[in-house]
């Protein structure tokens, strides 16, 4: 038997092990990935979902969830591309980001100020914002005025890094730094992990949760703008396939859905894992629906893995439970 502390260490860092396994699987499945340029593409292709997943990690660390991220990606893209013709490229981008911040504030008001459970509250904004994106776009894709500007997003800027990758890496590093190295990050973890203790210590949990929701929405907006620019098109369906992989990336990384435990770096690895998996499947010609089965299955596998470990008893007293993800609701006495 493995000793409990080592097993816990292994469980908490399982994402890196799974990541390595998937990378090896991808290399076997798709030998093309050995080409550096192709491997590099994984980063480029995961960037949009990655930026969203970083924001989502912050919200989940604070003990909430934001289901509206996909709709915000859509809205931001539709505004940033659709308004170019009337107000110019940069103002349109600014307007898109402003709208994303506004959605974040609405989420904050509903979830934090009104005390609505975030699963339900952000479900409402998810539907509402998607509707707003349809209104703004008139239900049809809009093309930007300058394809060359959009192409810049995917042109190598610093070394082989394109602005699209740079945004993702910068956002992830900044968030990781804030969570691990600043007082604000520690407070955020406290608010999510032990709300009562945080409150008694004088930390304003509503401020941190509000802030996390706004930052998350803003990042989703940035992702939407980048996505829109790189396609030079804003479509009212752009964000449809964002929520599931973003949530999967965060949870497979091991960030706890019950708040307070997790890390942006693990989410980063989770995002790359999904990207490598998608790339491997693309190379083997897996159709898109098979990929959606695999991704859904992956999320279920994470759920089952946690179920398995959260019911395992470890330690001398047999009472320590390894509930790593919060995916599984706490056991009730007698169960």
């Amino acid at each position: 038997m493995m000793n409990p502390s080592r097993r816990r260490l292994l469980l908490e860092n399982r994402i890196y092990i799974i990541f390595a396994a998937v990378c090896i699987a991808a290399l076997v499945l798709a030998p093309e990935i050995r080409d550096f340029g192709v491997a590099w593409n994984v980063l480029a292709q995961s960037s949009i979902i990655g930026i969203v997943a970083v924001g989502l990690t912050l919200v989940i660390l604070a003990g909430q969830l934001d289901l509206s991220v996909g709709s915000v990606v859509t809205l931001a893209g539709v505004i940033a591309l659709g308004q170019q013709g009337t107000i110019g490229i940069w103002p349109a981008i600014g307007l898109a980001l402003l709208a994303s911040v506004a959605v974040g504030c609405v989420n904050g008001i509903i979830v934090v100020k009104a005390g609505v459970n975030s699963f339900i509250g952000t479900l409402a904004t998810m539907i509402g914002v998607q509707g707003l994106a349809f209104v703004v776009s008139g239900g049809a894709p809009t093309v930007g005025i300058d394809p060359a500007f959009g192409a810049l997003v995917d042109t190598a800027a610093i070394g082989p890094l394109t602005p699209r990758m740079l945004v993702f890496v910068a956002v992830a590093l900044a968030a990781h730094f804030i969570v691990t190295r600043t007082a604000a990050g520690r407070n955020l973890l406290a608010v999510g992990g032990a709300p009562d203790v945080a409150r008694l210590s004088g930390i304003s949990s509503s401020a941190y949760q509000f802030g996390a929701l706004v930052v998350c929405s803003t990042l989703a907006g940035i992702a939407g703008v980048v996505l829109g620019l790189s396609l030079n098109t804003g479509t009212p369906l752009a964000g449809q396939a964002i929520l599931l992989p973003a949530v999967t990336a965060v949870l497979i990384g091991g960030t706890s859905l019950s708040g307070g435990a997790g890390s942006v770096l693990k989410t980063f690895a989770g995002v790359l894992l999904l990207g490598a998996l998608g790339m491997g499947m693309n190379f083997r010609g897996f159709p898109i629906h098979v990929q959606s089965i695999v991704k859904g299955g992956l999320l279920l596998a994470v759920v089952l893995l946690d179920a398995f470990y959260s019911t395992r008893r470890t330690g001398l007293l047999g009472a320590v439970r390894l509930n790593t993800s919060g995916l599984i609701l706490p056991k009730v006495k007698g169960e």
């Binding site: 289901l67 539907i127 949870l251 098979v290 599984i328």
Partner: protein, 326 residues
């Protein structure tokens, strides 16, 4: 605005009684107001035919909303797998028709819904996994499997009898509304007249306390998701019967419409309380709003926005009223 402190302590006065009654009957008042507003807004609104067409338009969401009511009352938030259930049941019902006949097809379609519901139920009820995450995963898997079998293609109906299930009429009422009525009645009786119904309420009202009192909470939650799968599948089969075809995207958006109906009806999305009649009123209100938007020429794109705002308001009211009551 907060009431004066003295108000909080005093015995319920007339004002508070009115307020309490308003909170209980608000949704029915809204319905009446909407009908009056509709009558004023459009001369075409107040007619039997228009109401029958509203009923037919919302009937399919109605089935899913009945299932979603069980999920909400049991405190399990939502079942996001409804689109997969609706698409899957309709496609199975039509695809199995040549082999097992129209009735057998319907049964297999409903069984498909039950199977998806069972998967959700086992994971949420027994493994105690988060409902939103589980159903987010199963909807992706379910739609993927459906796509795997039929691609983006339509599956067409070949049986006149099957078409009758939704399109036929009994005493002038379309069969789809008859079926919805029967399903609603069955669900209502199940919730109000059986031990299981009490278990659902109790589990949603307080999981730990129910467990301590001997309620089989895990089984209750699991069965609730099976029921949601079955009722949604009935909606999927009726939809396939109405449009005589089915395809992968048939159920897109139905999960949100169903949640909206439950919330608008004044059922709590946080568990413990709710009734089928309220859900039906919620479905009807959403149908009337849609109908009015069409009659008055509001663009279709705005409807999602309106829906989101309505859910947010309904949930907000629920929180407010609960706070006042406690």
């Amino acid at each position: 605005m907060d009431p004066a402190p003295s108000m909080l302590r005093s015995a319920p006065g007339t004002a508070q009684k009115i307020k309490r009654a308003a909170s209980v009957y608000a949704i029915f008042i809204v319905l009446v107001v909407l009908v009056v507003a509709g009558t004023i807004a459009s001369p075409a609104f107040l007619s039997v035919n228009n109401f029958l067409s509203i009923g037919q338009a919302v009937a399919f969401v109605g089935f899913a909303a009945i299932g979603m009511t069980f999920v909400s009352i049991s405190g399990s938030f939502v079942d996001l797998s409804v689109p997969a259930t609706i698409a899957g049941s309709g496609i199975v019902a039509l695809a199995a028709q040549p082999y097992v006949g129209p009735v057998g097809g319907v049964l297999l379609g409903v069984a498909t819904g039950a199977a998806i519901g069972l998967l959700n139920g086992l994971l949420i009820g027994y493994v105690r996994a988060n409902p939103v995450i589980v159903t987010l995963a199963t909807v992706s898997i379910g739609l993927g499997v459906v796509q795997l079998f039929v691609g983006g293609q339509y599956v067409y109906n070949q049986s006149p009898l099957f078409a009758e299930f939704a399109q036929g009429k009994a005493f002038g009422v379309p069969n789809v509304l008859v079926a919805l009525g029967l399903a609603a009645l069955a669900a209502h009786l199940l919730l109000t007249q059986t031990v299981f119904g009490r278990w659902v309420h109790s589990t949603g009202g307080g999981y730990a306390a129910s467990r301590a009192a001997g309620v089989p909470v895990r089984r209750t939650v699991a069965v609730v998701f099976v029921l949601c799968g079955v009722f949604s599948a009935l909606g999927g089969v009726e939809l396939a019967s109405m449009i005589e075809s089915a395809r992968q995207s048939a159920g897109t958006g139905y999960e949100f419409d169903a949640v909206a109906a439950v919330a608008v009806g004044g059922n709590s999305l946080f568990g413990g309380s709710g009734t089928i009649p309220r859900t039906l009123v919620g479905v009807l209100i959403l149908g009337i709003i849609n109908n009015l938007m069409i009659l008055t020429g509001i663009p279709a794109e705005a409807q999602g926005l309106v829906k989101g705002v309505i859910i947010a308001l309904a949930v907000f009211m629920d929180i407010r009223l609960r706070r006042d009551r406690s």
